[in-house]
Amino acid sequence: MTPEERIDAAELALGLLEGEERVTALERVLAEPEFAAELAWWRSRLEVLHAEYGPTEPSAALAGRIEARIDAEAGVTAATRNARRWPWLVGGLAGGALAASLAALVLTQTTPAPTPVPSGHQVEGPLLVAALVPAKGQVVAPVAAVVDHGSGIIRVAALATPRGRVAELWRIGADGVPRSLGLLAVGGATRLTLRPRTGPDLGDTLAISVEPSGGSPTGAPTGPVVATGVLSRG
């Protein structure tokens, strides 16, 4: 690859091109592996510039709208929403023994601090989003999970399971004991409603195991843990 061609890739990575020129460059990405590799090289070098974007608070109502969109996308009915929750934080976390690694987004409110209220009512709390990634040796795709700590609603994207088996979602807290949060729907997204304030919390691990139809007969995971991720503030 000539130096000039490397700069062609840089132009695309920076977003300098438009119209025909951009189309031509994009075609080269598909047709020329070397060009695609050069583009990836530039993108990874330029990534550090993301740090220069200054933060700006979006409107408080936006969190609720996003949750509604996710519900619509996932085919579940609108959840209880709390417009004051915000913002989302992300943390990358080191992989544990089971996790290949994981990504977690954490949503916390900006103001005010959580105010405990009697159970059954809405509670201000962080909204956590995690990408559960495959456990070692497992071949499932990462799965997104959104945890509304305030209302106790967990949304989990669709996960493929073998015929006749179900996926079960677990929370593993500081004591290291897995506690079942419920079974995931077969062939679609799931929304589980937990008792208020039963977690999971920041720092907890979410795990998905494959269990016999009806769920784990023992109260602990009996099948392979296929995906796991830790909720963290990063």
């Binding site: 700069i7 220069e52 933060p55 608070e57 989302w88 992300v90 795709a141 997104a144 994207a157």
Partner: protein
């Protein structure tokens, strides 16, 4: 990374709040949909999120009427011009462990004008023609200036790498 950071990306590239909020919604939807394709081995989740945000915002700019030069938000006009703005400001909450001082050092070695233009291209989503209009130079001049700078940047980044 906070939603404020992702929103900051949208706002800077889209230039107006309402649009930026619409784009931010799309970004979260994209994250929800694309989590299965995230490859932990290929980069940090923070960079993955920021990349999605920037790309979606740029998609919007490409698909819609781009603001005329006169109506570009002030910060866009400023960002490429003021020397003070060429200093890289690391966000402590972001990329803390992955700050690439190499890029910073190599950018510093470039002349001020092309350096500012490269930053504006990345951060504001400005294209060659928009940069040329703003600097009031012929398109071909802007292109060759930036391409020369990118060649130097490539060489610098490759040294000792």
């Amino acid at each position: 990374m906070t939603s404020a950071k992702l929103f900051g990306i949208c706002l800077r590239i889209c230039g107006e709040r309402q649009t930026a909020e619409d784009v931010l919604q799309e970004i979260y939807l994209t994250i929800w949909r694309r989590a299965p394709s995230f490859e932990p081995s290929r980069g940090s989740p923070v960079a993955w999120l920021a990349t999605i945000a920037r790309n979606r915002a740029l998609d919007w700019r490409r698909a819609n009427h781009r603001p005329a030069l006169e109506t570009l938000p002030d910060h866009i006009g400023r960002s490429a011009g003021e020397p003070a703005d060429t200093a890289l400001l690391a966000d402590q909450s972001l990329l803390e462990e992955e700050v690439d001082t190499r890029l910073r050092d190599c950018m510093e070695e470039l002349d001020g004008r092309p350096r500012a233009a490269i930053r504006a291209a990345f951060l504001d989503g400005l294209t060659y023609s928009e940069l040329a209009r703003r600097e009031a130079v012929p398109l071909a001049t802007m292109k060759s200036t930036i391409r020369r700078a990118l060649l130097r940047l490539r060489d610098c980044l490759s040294d000792d790498a």
